[in-house]
């Protein structure tokens, strides 16, 4: 868990696991809002870059949430 995208993917998936039990739509909303509120821009930029590179390792809710967030940005 030292290289940066791995760690951010792990963190994003952790957030996803909390919201997962609320159902897909609310989870996507909750995850994107959480990342927008608490992640500094360089972290968001890195995870977006990872998303553009295919988003390997991101859980489905998280993938959708990040895509939504990226469109808003």
């Amino acid at each position: 868990m030292s290289s940066s995208p791995d760690k951010l993917v792990y963190m994003a998936n952790q957030i996803g696991k909390f919201f997962h039990s609320q159902g897909h739509d609310r989870a996507v909303q909750g995850i994107s809002e959480h990342i927008w509120k608490f992640w500094d821009p360089r972290m968001r930029k890195q995870i977006f870059a990872h998303l553009d590179a295919g988003g390997a390792g991101l859980d489905p809710d998280v993938l959708d949430a990040l895509q939504k967030l990226k469109q808003q940005a």
Binding site: M1, S2, S4, K7, M11, Q14, I15, K17, F18, H20, S21, Q22, H34, K37, F38, W39, D40, P41, R42, M43
Partner: protein, 958 residues
């Protein structure tokens, strides 16, 4: 200034609302029913002579000095044990009473040394005062007979005489001066709740005895000082008073240790502290204290304190002492250079939860306004950030709901992942008092803590496996919902009903039942069901929790689960109930309130909000960045990555306190400029380039906010030894960096905070002086503050139930690391120990020990006291083992107070999903016998020694 004299009313205040009128010495007096005649007289200004009575403990009626006459009643009853009755006519002085009292005093003095001039209590002796009050002029009995006063009688050893017990580092017990009033024994029982003292023997043989005639240090005594405070003679006396003499003035201030926030009188002689005495009007502590606040303030004058600023180019270089200006300029040039090379966001800072609100506010202002980014965080990140997140989501405020007085109305106390007896001792004493009155106690903790084992306290202990909090709290909810124990009218009125229904359906699933989850949690399902029933139906239920809840991968989820539980049972919004985070450090609450988090401005308002940001921009006259900044763990990652190169750390030792030490070392080593602003060369300073000497709480003005949201004054009693209070240092550093802040006194900083923060609009130093303290929110709606929150409705509107799925941490045991390590605190030490290790408190805890169950120890060939190697996936260290069944098989425990152990070499990078609060409380480890320090410890020690060198000052030649 003079010495604050607190009135001793002799017996405790009655809480009755029924009033009783009687006549004392011809004056009509009205007092609450249940008041003693002694207290009623004192309230009217008449002090009846007394020795065994004091208002911190119940009346005892042993000294026979407080006798009075009551018309129509025979004899001379003791006024301390006689309650008032309507229409009583009482006389406190008569010929008969005068003779009786003189006779009693004569007997006392006939067995008491007459060394008053050289006695440490000279000037503060109730025995001497009473001898004066009753007009004692002669002791007819002489000193020839049997006595406790002289080592020898008639040339022979006197078996009744006992030498002084000086075993406690802070106070002395001199049995020859004891009058056996039992005040110390009763203070130990009633106020502290430890029951360490007793009276052994009977009649003339009666003696105060710690335990079974042990020394004070060797007994169960926790050195809280309540007995010393209660003693009317020089029998129990602070060693500092013996050494210095009686104080001449005193100033009320607030303790700088834990989140209880005890109010103390700093009793002074000039600028020298003689002693710290708990203040009875302090609303957090009500006149009680613990060994840290009462006695462990000697670090202020410790020889290792650094008093001059220092700089160096590289951390391999020795420190070079310089003037303040040189240090500020050096730091400013470095930080500006970093921002030029790496960008505006490449620097940041950490505010201190030990410094004042005003100082914390200035540091975040410097970062947001001066550095131009929001890379500010605070140690709450690593302790209670999940509390902030969880409670704001569910209730709408990032703070506990009650005041400490609330515990007096509690019927069921549930403690989750906290050990107040060690970490919040004064609150624990208040809690134990309520438990002895009959309130019930449920403890969720992997370890059998001191709370579980308190004398005269019966606890229902649920020893869960570390990391399974969410499963256990959800199982409690399962029982409450499926057994029909929900307080439906409360939920319908105060909470969102559809969210509740969704939550109730979720927790009611069979897979969340105590029986289904027992295999993971290790908790007996019957005990868990009983705990849920008691909490839901036992009357006022209050939850108190600590870092055992927050410092997990699912810390925020557990806080939410706790909030759900309180809402479902209607345990919110009145005295005796609530959800109460026990805050670790003195000003954790305050540092959070003051905008220390990277995503929010003071008052918990998100940085992206234009309206709020514009208010601050107008006041500070600077444009603010609207993007959230880095949190502490993110700063470390960014440093290793090369995008975060400069850090200003005020009053915090991140290297010792933060998890995965090797990772922190790598991050700090990667930075180009680390500024440490502290009292001592702490562990973080080993990697610093600028050291700015800090000031102690005795040397500055300001405020702290405790765990009850109580804002209390910190008052300066001596000149800062380093030259500047910390708020002044931050202002000067900011100035060197080109960001001007103008304040003449911390009160002006508080005025600015009040102008910008809706929950603080009513707070000012004048208001604090007037009311003593105030709990936020304090504004037009609540001009005297808010002791209890969410009365009649939640701050966010409707209370929000959120489902809490248990997700096991990824830190798992396995064949290589089969045990789970959890960490905690011990009474005598505080946090990283920077302060307490530099006091006599080390006699109780000179090193961190590893608690291990006898079964696990035997399997590994470990005996009590052996050195053991403690290894995790992150690192390894060595320390000595303590074999105990306080921990369950499979679980080991240690404290983190000592840098030579470095418990955080072991802890991992895992953190709370919502806030990145590190998972200190669960680490998979293996234990094996060891011969001594690990290679890491040796290398670390070598680096630390090397890094702490200070270059000798070269005098210019004439």
């Amino acid at each position: 200034m003079s010495l604050i004299q607190e009135t001793d009313f002799g017996t405790p205040k009655s809480k009755s609302e029924t009033m009783v009128t009687l006549i004392i010495d011809g004056n009509q007096i009205t007092v609450p029913e249940g008041t003693s005649i002694m207290r009623a007289a004192m309230e009217a200004g008449t002090q009846i002579p007394k020795l065994c009575a004091t208002d911190m403990v119940d009346a005892f009626g042993s000294c026979r000095l407080c006798l009075v006459e009551i018309e129509g009643r025979a004899g001379t009853p003791a006024s301390c044990t006689t309650p008032v009755m309507p229409g009583l006519v009482v006389h406190t002085q008569s010929e008969r009473l005068r003779k009786l009292r003189k006779g009693v005093m004569e007997l006392y003095i006939s067995d008491h040394p007459l060394d008053c001039l050289t006695c440490a209590a000279n000037g503060d002796c109730e025995l001497q005062d009473m001898a004066g009050a009753v007009g004692l002029r002669d002791v007819r009995y002489g000193y020839e007979g049997e006595n406790h006063v002289f080592a020898k009688s008639h040339g022979c050893e006197n078996d009744n005489w006992m030498p002084k017990d000086e075993s406690n580092p802070y106070f002395t017990y001199d049995p020859s001066k004891c009058i056996v009033c039992s005040r110390c024994v009763r203070a130990c029982e009633e106020v502290q709740g430890t029951f360490a003292l007793t009276i052994s023997g009977r009649g003339f043989d009666s003696r105060v005895s710690p335990g079974m005639s042990e020394s004070f240090l060797g007994s169960e005594c926790v050195s809280c000082g309540a007995c010393v405070q209660a003693c009317p003679t020089a029998t129990l006396t602070e060693k500092s008073v013996i050494e210095i003499g009686q104080p001449e003035h005193s100033v009320v201030t607030t303790c700088a240790y834990c989140g209880v926030g005890c109010a103390f009188k700093a009793e002074m002689r000039g600028e020298e502290v003689v002693r710290m005495v708990p203040w009875k009007n302090g609303k957090a502590n009500r006149g009680h204290s613990c060994v840290k606040g009462r006695f462990a303030w000697g670090y202020t004058t410790h020889k290792e304190r650094i008093l001059k600023p220092m700089i160096r180019e590289r951390i391999e270089d020795p420190w070079q002492e310089v003037s303040w200006d040189e240090a500020f300029n050096f730091a400013a040039v470095k930080f500006k250079g970093i921002q030029q090379r790496y960008g505006r966001d490449a620097v940041g800072g950490i505010t201190s939860s030990r410094c004042t609100n005003e100082e914390t506010y200035l540091v975040q202002k410097l970062i947001r306004g001066g550095f131009g980014n929001n890379n500010v965080d605070t140690c709450a990140r690593v302790c209670h950030s999940p509390t902030g997140y969880g409670l704001s989501q569910t209730f709408g405020t990032s703070a506990g709901t009650q005041d400490f007085d609330s515990v007096e109305d509690t019927d069921v106390v549930m403690i989750i992942g906290a050990n107040p007896a060690s970490a919040h001792p004064v609150f624990a004493s208040r809690l134990k008092k309520r438990l002895r009155q009959g309130a019930r106690l449920i403890v969720l903790d992997p370890r059998r803590t001191e709370m579980v084992e308190s004398p005269h306290v019966k606890a229902l202990h649920l020893p869960l496996m570390p990391g399974t909090n969410v499963a256990v709290v959800t199982a409690l909810a399962h029982v409450i919902v499926t057994e029909g124990l929900v307080n439906e009218s409360f939920v319908r009125e105060r909470c969102d009903w559809s969210e509740f229904e969704e939550w109730a359906a979720f927790v009611a699933q069979e897979k969340y039942s105590p029986e289904a989850t027992a295999i993971m949690t290790g908790v007996d399902p019957n005990d868990l069901r009983e705990a849920a029933r008691i909490y839901a139906t036992g009357g006022n239920g209050a939850i108190y929790y600590g870092l055992g809840v927050t410092e997990h991968s699912q810390g925020s989820t557990t806080v939410i689960a706790i909030a759900n539980l309180a809402m479902a049972t209607g345990n919110i919004g009145r005295p005796g109930v609530g959800v109460n985070p026990l805050r670790g450090q003195n000003n954790v609450q305050g540092s959070c309130d003051m905008g220390s988090f990277p995503h929010e401005l003071p008052g918990y308002r998100h940085i992206s909000g234009d309206a709020v940001r514009e208010q601050f921009e107008a006041m500070w006259n600077v444009k603010l960045n609207k993007e959230p900044g880095l949190r502490i763990p993110n700063m470390f990652d960014a440093a290793i990555e090369g995008t975060f190169m400069g850090l200003y750390v005020q009053g915090e030792d991140i290297l010792q306190s933060d998890p995965n030490t090797k990772h922190v070392v790598a991050a700090l080593s990667a930075m180009e400029c680390v500024i440490v602003h502290d009292l001592f060369l702490n562990e973080t300073a080993n990697y610093a380039h600028v050291f700015l000497p800090g000031s102690t709480f005795l040397e500055k003005d300001g405020t702290f906010t405790n765990a009850e949201r109580r804002i209390q004054r910190v008052r300066k009693v001596m000149t800062p030894r380093n030259g500047y209070a910390d708020w002044e240092v931050t202002i000067l550093l900011a100035k060197a960096m080109g960001f001007e802040m103008h304040y003449n006194h911390p009160s002006e900083i508080m005025d600015e905070i009040a102008a910008l923060t809706p929950t603080f609009t009513g707070v000012s130093y004048a208001r604090l002086d007037e009311l003593g303290s105030v709990q936020w929110p304090c504004n037009e709606k609540a001009p005297e503050g808010t002791p209890i929150m969410h009365i009649g409705g939640f701050v966010r509107g409707k209370g929000k139930f959120i489902v809490t799925e248990y997700v096991a941490t990824d830190e798992r045991t396995g064949p290589r690391y089969p045990l789970l390590l959890t960490t905690g605190r011990i009474l005598s030490q505080y946090n990283v120990g920077a302060q307490t290790r530099r006091t006599e408190n080390v006699v109780w805890h000179a090193e961190d020990r590893l608690e291990i169950h006898p079964h696990d120890a035997e399997q590994r060939g470990v005996r009590d006291g052996d050195w053991v190697r403690l290894a995790s996936r992150a690192g390894e260290t060595t320390l000595r083992a303590e074999i105990t069944d306080r921990v369950a098989p499979g679980v080991v425990y240690t404290t983190f107070h000592h840098p030579d152990t470095q418990a955080n070499v072991i802890t991992t990078d895992f953190s709370d999903w919502a806030t990145n609060c590190p998972e200190y409380k669960v680490t998979a480890v293996q234990i094996s016998p060891s011969n001594g320090p690990s290679d890491w410890q040796k290398a670390y020690d070598e680096q630390a020694r090397h890094s702490r060198r200070i270059a000798p000052v070269v005098e210019a030649a004439e």
